[in-house]
Structures are given as structure tokens and as C-alpha cells.
């Protein structure tokens, strides 16, 4: 295409849009980022935190692919800790409280300093096409921007409608505008557009909270940072606090629940079950009398507090009364009311696993528009859409991670293979290869790709290769160190037969980790000089090896089905011998591989057997 303004236009400056734009720039493309406010990029519209169970794994994967999220939270985080430390490393998850304003400032500045990246303050109104391909966008104020690839990352701004009690406010975030023409443009192009709901709690003035009544939740030291690029530093962390609702809260909410748009029928779209409003909680779990509320600081330069667990759409006066029934918040001042928000999304069965739409070449979707919720989920899709938009321009095969390689792969596959009817959030239980997909090995899983697509600096790649080599050596070394069973205070009784045990075998045992062993080793074998990072990696590797070998066989089976590709022109509609329900699903989703087909709901192994035969026949016919 000649005379185009940009290579890629990204619509939306949230967590998805920013990662998409930066990935494009990293791969040497000229990118426009269209956002309403260039100073509010990657703003945390809801809770001021990054990470959490299943989500931190996504952040580390984005980080391994050269993304900005991990670095940004490491720079602007005010409290870090790891969840699930009493479990195994496969489900450890880092979570950090962010200084919300600092986070946005950091990202906005970073974006502003990118050559090849132009931020355009506008509202996208229409996707432009030319000869059946994406050609650019038209803004609501009539500007035409041309580019052969467009990434839509509209978040809650697409047809956003805020609800507080009976009040409805057209807006994508309190006090801001929303995009209304774009949904119509998508419908005109033939896309199915649906509607979802989410919510946010009121914000509180921290100076009016009786902290003594709440339980302190401190950060973790040493501080668990997210990015391999961050240098370790220590600072005084800002704590969170834990409190709970009372019988009075329950009574009040139940008395006024009909005034919530969720119950009055004003909102009919589906909200997330894992993040219900407080009125929902009291109704769905009526036998529970109190609920935890986590009081999270919004930043260092502000007294504003985010009461996690108290999302509500009740009228403002009821919200104020209800909040005051919470322990420690008796005299609290509400700085901003909570609200529910409805927004448009495009069910992701309309996408290929590359996040490009099946209908319109060159048009990519990322983030909430695909039915997800969460900053991390958005960022992960953003970076994938960004990389794939570049590969589309270069006419290269798409970059697709599968379910055995990354949480990103699990999420994208879930999105394009299953119809999301509620906002999708990552959980570790969604990943069948969870023991292989860990925070600690994100680079082991993804760095080769990152290097291949030139998403990271070669120096980082090389030093990681060195780390991998040292880890392997350390594993061998641990197999050679033998301890006398008698020296293993506390573990002795586990050994009835042998008198000695090597460290490698010891590390495989439940309840034993490198931290418990180190003092013992040092006591009896003198100092142990290995690099702690290498030692930790080696210990985790040893711990999981047996399972990973078991999973490897499953993964092999899985990959075999994934590699059975179904051509774009495969006639699903005339497929005979599969059940009608299965045929309809196959027609609608048009899976790209037998593997994806097998995961479609309502498609049975019998149907797959038939499909596999027909596929061979189809391929034979075409030769």
C-alpha cells in the first residue's frame, strides 16, 4: 500500500493497546496509538494492583516477550508479595500494589519517548476497508488515518454506559467520554457485538479510616519484583489492611438491593462471577454474614484507598451508608462512588488464534473487546496482537503460543475456542499443564521466541543462556552432594532404609525445599557457594521433573492433534457423519486444527474421529 500514514494503528491506550503499540515499535514498525488522553495511558481504572494468582504468570510471560508491564510495576509498585507461598512454586504468584498515578505517568512518558510511535488524541469511529482488507480508521471528528493493520483495544470505552443506582451515564470511565460509532461500524462489517458488565467499588479517604481496627498486611522482603530486567532495590513498602463487613452491612444492602441496577433489571448483561458486586454476594451467598474487605492504597502521594471486595452499583447515598457499616470505616469519607459499567465486546470466536479477525484481514482485537477482564489479560493479548500485526504486514506465519507453552496460549485458545459469556479472567486451574507453566520459567518457555522476533536485547538473551547452563550444572552438582541421614534433623524419620541421601533426591520429597536444606548443608558441608538464583532454579527443576516428564507425554499427544491443521477452505458445512450439534459448532468456530476442534464444547471424540478422516480425504482430493 502506498501513501499510508502508519503501518499499524492501535485504538485504545489501555494495557492492551500500549503493549500492542510497543511491540509494533520494537519490531521496527511505524505505529499510531489513538487514545482520548495521551497522559492517561495504561491507567488502572479499577484496582491499583498488578499480578495475582494466574495473572502474575501472564505478566512474567509478557515480560519475557519484551513487554513493559513488569518493568512499569517494578518501578512504580509500593508493595510486593507472593501469594500461595505455602504451596509449590508452580502456583506461586506475585502481586504488587501500584502507585496508580506513577504507573500511568511512567507508561505515558515511556510511550512519548518512542521514536516511530505517535499518540493521537481522538476517538475512533469507524474501521476503513479497501478491497476486503483493513485500510485504516476514521475518527469521530472526521480524521482519516490509513494503515494496513488496525488493532482494536477499546476496553470499557466501546459503548460504555455507567450505572449508579437509577442513574445512567454514557461514559467509558467515570468523568470521561466513550466511543459509540465504532460498534456500529463493526456491526456493519458483519461482526457480532455483545455486551458485558463489570464494576468498581467506591474510593475512600484514608485519613478518615480507623486503621487500628484493621489487620495489617505488610509487603514481603526480599521484595519479589516481576521483571528480570529490574535491579534489586529495597524501599519502605506501603501496607494493605484487612477488614470486614458487619451484620449492619448485610441488613442495609438487603433492604436497598432493589435500587441496584443489577437487581432492578436496568442491567441485563453478564458480569464476572469471580468479582461480584457486594449486593450480589449477599444475595447469592445468603448464609454468609460477613465478607472480607481489603483496603488497598492507591499510591504514595494520595490518601485515597481502594476497598477491594466492595464493588457496587447502589445509589451513592446508600453506598456511603453501607461503607460506614464496615469495621474501621465508621466515619469514612467517600471520595468517589462505585459504579457498574456496561460495554460492547465482540465474542472471540470471530478471531483466529493470532487475534486477527476471520472476517476482515488486518483487523486485530485485544483486551476487553474479546471478553476478558484484567490488566494482565489485556496486556498479554496486546503484545500478541502487536507481534501478529507486524507478522501480518510481513506476510509471515503468525506467532501462536499453544496451551502447553504459556498461560497466554491457554487464554487465547480459551477465547477463540469457547464462547465467553462472562468476562474472562485467568486462573491457574484453567491451565492443564500448570506444573509446566510457572512464573519462574517464563523465560525458559518464551525467550527463544522473543529472540527470534527481536523483541528483547541480545545481551539479555545471552545472559539467560548462561543462567540456563549454570542451572543444568547445578542440578548435576546437587546429585553428587550426599548427606548423612542422621544430620537431617526433622526429616530423619522419613528414611528407614538408607543411611545417606543425595541432595537431588532429597529435593524431590514433599515439604523439603532449598531454604530448609541450606542451613543443614552449610552446617555439615561447609559453605555453599552457588548463586541463589541458580540454586533456586535447580531446586524447582528437580522438584517438578517427574511431573514434567509425565506431562511431557501428554503434551506430545496434545501437540500431535494441534499439528493436524485444518485448511481455511475446509467445508465444515457439508461435513457428514458428525452430530448436528457438533457440525454447527465447527461451522461457527472454524477451528484451525484438530486439537482446537476437539476442545469445542459439544464436539465429542467420535466427531473428531470423523473429522480426522474427512480431513485426510479433503487433503487428498486437493492434491
Amino acid at each position: 500500500m502506498t501513501g499510508k500514514d502508519f503501518d499499524i494503528i492501535v485504538v485504545g491506550g489501555g494495557h492492551a493497546g500500549v503493549e500492542a503499540a510497543l511491540a509494533g515499535v520494537r519490531m521496527n514498525r511505524k505505529v499510531a496509538l489513538v487514545s482520548m488522553d495521551a497522559a492517561k495511558l495504561a491507567l488502572m481504572s479499577c484496582n491499583p494492583a498488578i499480578g495475582g494468582i494466574g495473572k502474575s504468570q501472564l505478566v512474567k510471560e509478557v515480560d519475557a516477550l519484551g513487554g513493559i508491564m513488569g518493568v512499569a510495576i517494578d518501578v512504580t509498585g509500593i508493595q510486593f508479595r507472593r501469594l500461595n507461598l505455602s504451596r509449590g512454586p508452580a502456583v506461586w504468584s506475585t502481586r504488587a500494589q501500584a502507585d496508580r498515578r506513577a504507573y500511568t505517568r511512567f507508561i505515558s512518558d515511556f510511550v512519548a519517548n518512542q521514536r516511530n510511535l505517535t499518540v493521537i488524541e481522538a476517538i475512533a469511529g469507524e474501521v476503513l476497508t479497501e478491497n476486503g482488507r483493513t485500510a485504516g480508521i476514521k475518527t469521530e471528528d472526521g480524521q482519516i488515518l490509513t494503515a494496513p493493520a488496525v488493532i482494536l483495544a477499546t476496553g470499557t470505552f466501546l459503548g460504555g454506559l455507567i450505572h449508579i443506582g437509577e442513574t445512567k451515564i454514557p461514559s467509558g470511565r467515570m468523568g470521561e467520554k466513550a466511543a459509540y460509532q465504532l460498534s456500529d461500524s463493526l456491526r456493519k462489517l458483519g461482526f457480532e457485538v455483545g455486551r458485558l458488565k463489570t464494576g468498581t467499588p467506591p474510593r475512600l479517604d484514608g485519613d478518615t479510616i480507623d486503621w487500628d481496627k484493621c489487620e495489617l498486611q505488610p509487603g514481603e522482603v526480599p521484595i519479589p519484583f516481576f521483571s528480570y530486567r529490574s535491579l534489586y532495590r529495597e524501599f519502605e513498602q506501603t501496607p494493605c489492611y484487612l477488614t470486614h463487613t458487619t451484620a449492619a452491612t448485610k441488613a442495609l444492602i438487603i433492604a436497598h438491593h432493589k435500587r441496584s441496577p443489577i437487581f432492578s433489571g436496568q442491567i441485563s448483561s453478564t458480569g464476572p462471577r469471580y468479582c461480584p458486586s457486594i449486593e450480589d454476594k449477599f444475595f447469592r451467598f445468603a448464609d454468609k454474614d460477613t465478607h472480607h474487605i481489603f483496603l488497598e492504597p492507591e499510591g504514595n502521594g494520595t490518601n485515597e484507598i481502594y476497598p477491594n471486595g466492595f464493588s457496587t452499583a447502589l445509589p451513592e447515598d446508600i453506598q456511603i451508608k453501607a461503607v460506614k457499616t464496615i469495621v474501621g470505616l465508621e466515619d469514612v469519607k467517600v471520595t468517589r462512588p462505585g459504579y457498574a459499567i456496561e460495554y460492547d465486546y465482540c465474542p472471540a470466536y470471530q478471531l483466529k488464534p493470532s487475534l486477527e479477525s476471520k472476517r476482515l484481514p488486518g483487523l486485530f482485537f485485544a483486551g476487553q473487546i474479546n471478553g476478558t477482564s484484567g490488566y494482565e489479560e489485556a496486556a498479554a493479548q496486546g503484545i500478541m496482537a502487536g507481534i501478529n500485526a507486524v507478522l501480518y504486514l510481513e506476510k509471515e506465519p503468525s506467532f501462536i503460543l499453544d496451551r502447553s507453552e504459556a498461560y497466554i496460549g491457554v487464554m487465547v485458545d480459551d477465547l477463540v475456542t469457547r464462547s465467553t459469556t462472562e468476562p474472562y479472567r485467568m486462573f491457574t486451574s484453567r491451565a492443564e499443564y500448570r506444573l509446566t507453566l510457572r512464573e519462574d520459567n517464563a523465560r525458559d518457555r518464551l525467550f527463544e521466541y522473543a529472540q527470534k522476533y527481536k523483541l528483547i536485547e541480545t545481551q539479555h538473551y545471552n545472559s539467560f543462556k548462561e543462567l540456563q547452563k549454570n542451572t543444568l550444572e547445578e542440578i548435576k552438582h546437587l546429585g553428587k552432594i550426599t548427606l548423612s541421614v542422621n544430620t537431617l534433623e526433622g526429616f530423619k524419620e522419613r528414611f528407614s532404609r538408607s543411611r545417606t541421601v543425595n541432595l537431588k533426591n532429597l529435593l524431590k520429597m514433599p515439604g523439603i525445599d532449598i531454604e530448609t536444606l541450606l542451613p543443614l548443608i552449610e552446617k555439615h558441608n561447609g559453605s555453599f557457594s552457588a548463586n541463589p538464583e541458580v540454586l533456586q532454579r535447580a531446586a524447582i527443576f528437580i522438584r517438578y521433573q517427574g511431573y514434567i516428564d509425565k506431562q511431557a507425554r501428554e503434551i506430545e499427544k496434545f501437540k500431535k492433534l494441534e499439528s493436524e491443521k485444518i485448511p481455511d477452505d475446509f467445508p465444515f458445512a457439508s461435513l457428514k457423519g458428525v452430530r448436528i450439534e457438533a457440525r454447527e459448532k465447527l461451522r461457527r468456530y472454524r477451528p484451525v486444527s484438530l486439537g482446537q476442534a476437539s476442545r469445542l464444547e459439544g464436539v465429542t471424540p467420535g466427531d473428531i474421529a470423523v473429522l480426522s478422516v474427512m480431513l485426510k480425504k479433503h487433503k487428498g482430493d486437493r492434491k
Binding site: R87, R284, H292, F294, P510, I580, R583
Partner: protein
């Protein structure tokens, strides 16, 4: 599984077939399935009392089958089933006429001439499966039921067809999902106020599942007998009377006609119906075992038959001298196999009762005059019944594939149990239980995606 939309049919044809066995019988039945079923029925149906008649679903109507030329072919009853409510899921009609090759043939011809297509073998069941009327275990059961040759196997396939087995498997799966949901909730939502179940509680639940899985897997001993029959080999030294016993048993019992042709017959084998169980009686006469003159190949063949047999009837010629020492030798050789000892030729030995005092396990018979055979048969039936599962529940594993999957599930659950005992982190226990669930899923061919999360959200108030 029911799909509300359009039903699948083989290229929109209306198909027809006789669904009762061929030959003379009291009543024969024909089935029509497809869009024109009712229209075709109405075209030939002449009501007995009224001029016109309306067919209400599932209401049997009495009348006559009138040929295109106008003549009455037979007195019939007929029934109509609307789309979505029939076996195949399609609009369906059934005609019951008098049995007899000619009448049935004429009616079938009339229907085919009027536009119905003769159904292919198994097409009705295939349609039922394609239209989601039955699942995989049930489709398998239909095939079994058609092939079922004895009363017991018929009963078991009928229970599978009714979905009792599939339901049982589903319940087992739900039990597993409940435990997994507990573990997963504690992993994915550590900040929530979820009270993790006590280890003893989890262990109890896991032991419960293990017991149920074992109970089910063990029914395969009987299930295999029901599906594949009970293999009984007749063995013994030359001239012990093996062929005589074989022929006697066959002559007295109804021999079954089966379709298990194709095996090379180095030996004689026939099926008979013994107390409702299909018994495959194998005569190893001609294959000589033991002794020094044995050919190697014959010996191996006999060994193979004995190895595969569920039971060996070992015949001893009580009239031959030195049978006791030879039996001792043979018993060593047959060590570890399930054997019933039979002392033959009591007609030739006067003092056999005294001889047998040291061998209370030997059943004395005479294949010549038939004495003792009654006891032999009742012992045989007792022996089979000892291996039979309780059939009243209808939950019997009859497929080797299902058995294998159940065993895999058991191994995974056992492994999960061990993790729990060792106080291992829950993601490992969940790993094994998930593997177990997947093994079970392969039995019914169903894949459930979001069930664990559904279970968590239904039971726990999540929402930090």
C-alpha cells in the same frame, strides 16, 4: 444432548426397514423414519371403523394396509412419533402386521415404491446417535444388544442402553470434580475466606471414590463373561473321555449359533447357553499334554487354550491304573489355573467312591450313561456365578476399553491419595485427580470444560 434445531437425516430421505427378525412369527414390525413417515403411513392406512382418522403421537391405531391398487394386504396397527420424540430423533412411524415373509415383503415393497428408501444396517441407531438421542456408551450398547445371544447379556446391554452405566460414570466424575474444586479453590483463591476441607475429610472422599471405581472395575470379570462368554476348556490325558464329555454337554444343552467364525480350528469348540450365560466349550482332544511323547507344538497350543480359558475341566480316567500319580504330575503342570476335576468312567469302576475319598474335589461322572452330569453342570454354573457381578444395578463394565480407562483412573486416584497422605502441596494432588477425570471422560466421550470453575463459583463466595 438434544438439539432443538433441525434434525439430521441421511440426505433427507425417509427410510424404511423391517425391524423384527426374519422368518415366521406372530407379528412383524416395520419402521419408517424421516420427513415423509406420517404421509406414507396415511397413504396406505385404512381405518377399521371410520373413513378418516387422525394420528395422535404415540397412540396406536387399528386398521388395514391398503395397497396402491386398492386391495387390503393385511390387518395392522400403526403408531406415529413426531420429530424430536422418537428413537432416531426424526419423524417416525411404525407398522405392526402379521408375521410371515410374504406379507412383510409386500408392505415393504409398497412403501419403497411410494418413495421410502430401504435403511442400511444400523442406520436407525446411527441417526439416533447423530441426532444426539443417545451417547457413545449407549450407541455401543445398541450394537451389543443386537448381538446379545443370551438373556443375561441382553439384560446388561438393555441397562447400558437406558443410560444407567453412563449415569453411574457421570456420578463418579462429579464426585471427583467436587474434590478437585476444593483443591483448586484453595489454590486459585488463597485470599478468600475459603475453609479448606480437612485432610481426613478429603481422604475419606478419595477412599469413597476409590471404592466405587474398584467396585465398578471388578464387574468386568463378570462383564467380560457376559459379553464374550465363559471359556471352558476340556482337558485331560488321552482317552480320558474329553470328546465324550464335550458331546454329552452339547447334546443336553441348547447350542448357540454365533458369529464367531474365522478361528482356525485345531480343536472343537461350541457355544451353549448355561443358566443364561454363553459358555464356549473347547475340546482339546487331539492335543496331547504331559508325558514324554508330546509334540512341542501341540503342547504349546494346549497351554495357550488353558491360559485363555476361564475354567479347565480336567478329566481323569478313573478306570486306568495309576491315575493318581499321573494326576499329581498333571496338577503340578496346571498349577495356578482354575480347574474343576472330573473323574470319568465310573461305570467301569466299582469302588470309585472309596478311591475318591482322598480327592473330595473330583466330581464322579460317566459320559457313557450320563450319571453325575447334573452335578457337574450345577457346579459349573455355581463356578460361573461366583464371578458374576450383581446385575440388579445394571452397572457392569463389559468393554475392555472401559475397563482399561477405569484402571488408569484408579492408578491416578491412588497416586493422589498418596500425595495427600504425604502432605504434598495441593497442586500435585489436583494433578493426579485431573488425570483420573480425563481417563473417565474417555469412557463417555464427553468433554466438560468449565465444570471445575462452575463448581467453585457455585459453592464459594469469590470476590476479593
Amino acid at each position: 444432548m438434544l438439539h432443538p434445531g433441525k434434525k439430521i437425516s441421511s440426505d433427507d430421505d425417509t427410510i424404511v426397514a423391517v425391524i423384527t427378525p426374519p422368518g415366521e412369527g406372530g407379528i412383524a414390525a416395520l419402521r419408517l423414519a424421516g420427513k415423509k413417515s406420517l404421509a406414507l403411513l396415511l397413504r396406505f392406512f385404512q381405518p377399521a371403523h371410520a373413513k378418516k382418522i387422525k394420528f395422535s403421537p404415540f397412540l396406536l391405531r387399528y386398521g388395514f394396509f391398503q395397497s396402491t391398487e386398492g386391495g387390503i394386504i393385511d390387518e395392522i396397527t400403526a403408531v406415529y412419533m413426531p420429530e424430536g420424540e422418537s428413537y432416531t430423533g426424526l419423524e417416525q412411524a411404525e407398522i405392526f402386521c402379521h408375521g410371515g415373509c410374504r406379507v412383510v415383503r409386500v408392505i415393504l415393497d409398497e412403501l419403497v415404491r411410494a418413495g421410502a428408501r430401504p435403511a442400511e444396517p444400523g442406520e436407525f441407531t446411527r441417526l439416533a446417535f447423530l441426532n444426539g438421542r443417545i451417547d457413545l456408551t449407549r450407541a455401543e450398547a445398541v450394537a451389543d444388544m443386537v448381538a446379545a445371544s443370551t438373556e443375561v447379556s441382553l439384560k446388561v446391554s438393555r441397562e447400558h442402553l437406558l443410560g444407567t452405566f453412563a449415569r453411574h460414570i457421570e456420578n463418579l466424575r462429579n464426585d471427583l470434580i467436587k474434590i478437585i474444586a476444593d483443591l483448586e479453590a484453595s489454590i486459585d483463591f488463597p485470599d478468600e475466606e475459603i475453609v479448606a476441607p480437612e485432610r481426613s475429610e478429603l481422604l475419606g472422599a478419595i477412599d469413597d471414590i476409590l471404592a466405587k471405581l474398584n467396585e465398578l472395575a471388578i464387574t468386568y470379570t463378570g462383564g467380560k463373561i457376559i459379553k464374550e462368554g465363559y471359556q471352558v476348556a476340556i482337558g485331560g490325558r488321552p482317552n480320558a473321555g474329553k470328546s465324550s464329555l464335550f458331546n454329552r454337554l452339547l447334546r443336553q444343552e441348547r447350542a448357540l449359533v454365533t458369529a464367531t467364525a474365522g478361528t482356525t480350528r485345531d480343536y472343537l469348540s461350541e457355544w451353549l447357553d448355561l443358566g443364561g450365560i454363553a459358555v464356549n466349550l473347547i475340546d482339546t482332544a487331539g492335543i496331547r499334554v504331559g508325558g514324554s511323547t508330546v509334540e512341542k507344538s501341540g503342547r504349546e497350543k494346549a497351554l495357550k487354550i488353558f491360559k485363555d480359558a476361564d475354567l479347565i475341566l480336567w478329566l481323569v480316567d478313573l478306570s486306568s491304573r495309576g491315575w493318581k500319580s499321573r494326576l499329581e504330575d498333571d496338577l503340578k503342570y496346571l498349577d495356578g489355573k482354575l480347574i474343576m476335576l472330573i473323574g470319568n468312567k465310573i461305570d467301569l469302576v466299582k469302588e470309585f467312591k472309596k478311591d475318591l475319598r482322598a480327592y473330595p474335589g473330583i466330581i464322579p461322572v460317566s459320559c457313557l450313561d450320563g450319571s453325575g452330569l447334573k452335578k457337574l453342570k450345577s457346579n459349573l454354573i455355581k463356578n460361573i456365578n461366583k464371578k458374576m457381578p450383581d446385575l440388579t444395578s445394571g452397572v457392569v463394565v463389559t468393554s475392555a476399553r472401559h475397563k482399561q480407562k477405569l484402571e488408569q483412573a484408579i492408578e491416578h486416584v491412588k497416586s493422589a491419595r498418596m500425595k495427600l497422605v504425604e502432605d504434598e502441596s495441593p497442586e500435585f494432588t489436583a494433578f493426579d485427580l485431573n488425570q483420573a477425570t480425563r481417563a473417565i471422560d474417555e469412557i463417555t466421550g464427553k468433554v466438560y470444560n468449565e465444570q471445575i470453575l462452575d463448581e467453585i463459583f457455585a459453592r464459594f463466595c469469590i470476590g476479593k
